[in-house]
Symmetry: C2
Subunit: 446 residues, 2 copies
């Protein structure tokens, strides 16, 4: 399939390219486009008419679309972006450089550009970021006949709209009711929107969080929920699927952050230099932290020199404490995102983790201590190593449990920063404990 | 709020308990229930009538609900579970012990139990696992009048149903059409379902993956999609929101696995022994792997004894390689889940990662090598440490990029196992490289 598209692109024949593209399964479109080289991809989007290009983009991932839009001229990009649904459009524009974004907005229809600007201002994870603007809205005094006439004469424009409900506005464009479109079917021609509508609709503010939206959808079982500003004016409508999608994106981003990928996600069709720089920005922080924690070892070189066997256990204690701590980080991240934990419940987390750390620390400490004692036939080596792992496991689970809370409480991103902070602290403590204990018992260890 | 509920529970007065519960915001219900102790929680669900209990459960997280259901008698659990929507009901029953589950199914209405058994057999991540059974379905020969009569007389039963569409079945209960309920409004009484329906509806099989469903919803913009068996018989209906929710659960589970939490998720209201055992099962594998990789150091004790400064760099190289490799794991996991990478594209990943590894390896190696050379005033120490980190970074990113693919290709879970496999390999290689290089240049290092 990819080869067919590639050779069609080489021929530069529009018909052939369209045909090759249509032969690709919808589920394979993102993959296929990711396997084109830069010139092929640019050519593909030059050849496709804006509407088709937008349809294709809806099958791609956001990061692919952003890269494609960045390479287009502002005019061409504006033509395609205008064809996207309002929510996707704002998502893409938000990810562009400010200058690119402004250039594209300048080329768009003023009305569409204003819509996009409005949607772009809302933060990720809020109702404003997961709403769409393709909404039917009518003044309260308009009649059933006028609404039906409007629907029929704007058939084209409304083709992408959810037309189950119309939203009815009163004075100062305040949202005052919701009108199920099927009610129109029974209504005499002259009845006004106000008379047909369901008054006092449930609304949410644009800064409502996704978790709150889930609860509201659970409570009311609505298809859509109108989003309003602080003056009760309709901004847009969000639905359950958009909210779930927003949550899915947050989880996926957290997963990437936990593995040490900051900022935007990476796909391997991005330029090498960009991929390298993004990863290095994270690694360079880590190497500094690593040097700091390893410097603890440098201050105890004499002890280590005397009991060289300890060098084997330093990386084990460092790694195992990291593992134990990361599990606690995972539980805290999950409890925070499920709303089962408030960021200030330090005492609860400390009590829950320290008791668990004691049990797991004893188990792991016994295991490693026994191994160490048998290996060198020295009970004291076993005691030192086992006690150090036990103590450091307790520290690691407490730190791992608490760091995400502290970060969240300070409005920092817990998924991104918890790991490095955790390992720096546990490494330092682990090295310090094992080497201090060893120097205490140095006469028994040599 | 929690205190009010707790004291109401102490009084054991049903009215007071209901009132205290209703005073809690829907978004705070999960949190509130998680802060009750075992007796309070058991009492709460004894006191609530089944319908109210089910409503409350819909606001809780699956893991909370499972714990509550496990503590109820089979009869009480059956009464509550019957009130849950079919999809949630199957999710909960699936998570129970087989015996508990069978005991509850035995207490349920036979029809409801069959429904639950049907839904429970489908794998996570497929259409079967995200569909609901609350679906209107009629035979093709039934008339508009009969359908309307059925809707009116079963008003109670259908109250939880999506009633936008009815699904029309032909001979051998095959799905042959979809009937928008609003079409009924204009239909003469005697018209049959077959005459009103839209024939040849788009359907999906129960084993269709969530990614494929996303593409189908993107393509057609439907509200719901009928799920059929291999004989075209209607099994249920799925919608966009359920698919997005399913994807969200997968991402959240992957996040937990990456942090080293296997199997079901953990919340801190679970018993300590259970939390401890779950985490230990993962840690005990890790400690064995750690001992294996650290044994490399044990075989080079002499080199280390001669150049004790190396002991400082062993944990740094181990940790930095782990960080670099984990980034590659994250990118592979993401590309796999976005469908941008096939599990057999080993060569592509190797080429993309090795080139990146070379660049990042040189940068990190130069940095750490320079530090090492300056610290001990020994250029060779810098060369050994820098070269080792460079080489091991290349190994780490290649291994990190490839391990998730290999696991996926062998039908293993890449999120869970990639981390430990990666760190074991990179630790062993890292220790081996730095200590071998050091023994080569031992005369220059001492």
């Amino acid at each position: 399939m990819i080869e067919a598209l590639k050779s069609a692109l080489q021929s530069k024949a529009t018909d052939q390219i369209s045909a090759a593209l249509e032969a690709v399964e919808p589920g394979e479109l993102a993959y296929t486009v990711s396997r084109l080289n830069d010139e092929e991809r640019a050519l593909l989007f030059q050849v496709l008419p804006p509407e088709k290009a937008a349809q294709l983009m809806e099958h791609l991932n956001e990061i692919q679309t952003v890269a494609i839009v960045e390479e287009m001229t502002p005019a061409a990009a504006a033509a395609v972006v205008e064809e996207l649904p309002s929510e996707e459009r704002a998502d893409i524009l938000k990810e562009l450089d400010v200058l690119d974004c402004e250039a594209i907005l300048a080329e768009m229809q003023p009305e569409e550009a204003d819509d996009a600007r409005l949607l772009m201002q809302f933060n990720e994870g809020t109702a404003g970021a997961v709403m769409h603007r393709e909404v039917l809205s009518f003044d309260q005094n308009i009649t059933a006949q006028q609404i039906l006439y409007d629907l029929r004469s704007n058939y084209e424009k409304y083709s992408d709209f959810e037309v189950q409900y119309a939203y009815i506005t009163g004075t100062k464009r305040k949202l005052i009711g919701v009108l199920p479109i099927r009610n129109l079917l029974f209504a005499p021609d002259h009845v006004t929107a106000r008379e047909m509508m369901i008054p006092e609709p449930v609304t949410v503010l644009a800064n409502t969080t996704l978790d709150e939206l889930v609860d509201i959808f659970d409570k009311y079982n609505f298809l859509g929920l109108p989003v309003v500003d602080s003056h009760d004016r309709l901004l847009g409508v969000t639905d359950k699927a958009s909210v779930s999608e927003g949550l899915e994106e947050q989880s996926a981003e957290d997963l990437l952050k936990v593995t040490g990928l900051m900022g935007k996600e990476e796909i391997r069709s991005m330029p090498l230099s960009e991929r390298s720089m993004r990863r290095l920005s994270w690694l360079s922080i880590n190497i500094v932290l690593n040097v700091i924690s390893a410097s603890v070892i440098a201050f105890h070189e004499e002890t280590l020199q005397a009991v060289i066997a300890l060098a084997v256990f330093l990386p084990i204690i460092s790694d195992m404490s990291g593992c134990s701590g990361n599990q606690a980080v995972g539980v805290s991240l999950r409890e925070l995102s499920l709303g089962l934990l408030k960021p200030t419940e330090f005492v609860r987390v400390f009590l829950k983790e320290s008791s668990l750390g004691l049990i797991n620390g004893i188990c792991l400490g016994l295991l490693l201590g026994t191994l160490a004692a048998i290996w060198k036939g020295n009970l004291y080596l076993g005691l030192v190593v086992g006690a150090a792992l036990m103590l450091n496991t307790i520290i690691a689970v407490c730190v791992g449990g608490l760091v995400p809370l502290i970060l969240k409480w300070r409005n920092q991103d817990p998924a991104l920063a918890s790991g490095p902070i955790l390992t720096t602290i546990t490494d330092m403590c682990g090295f310090l404990i094992v080497l201090s204990l060893a120097s205490l018992f140095i006469s028994k260890l040599v």
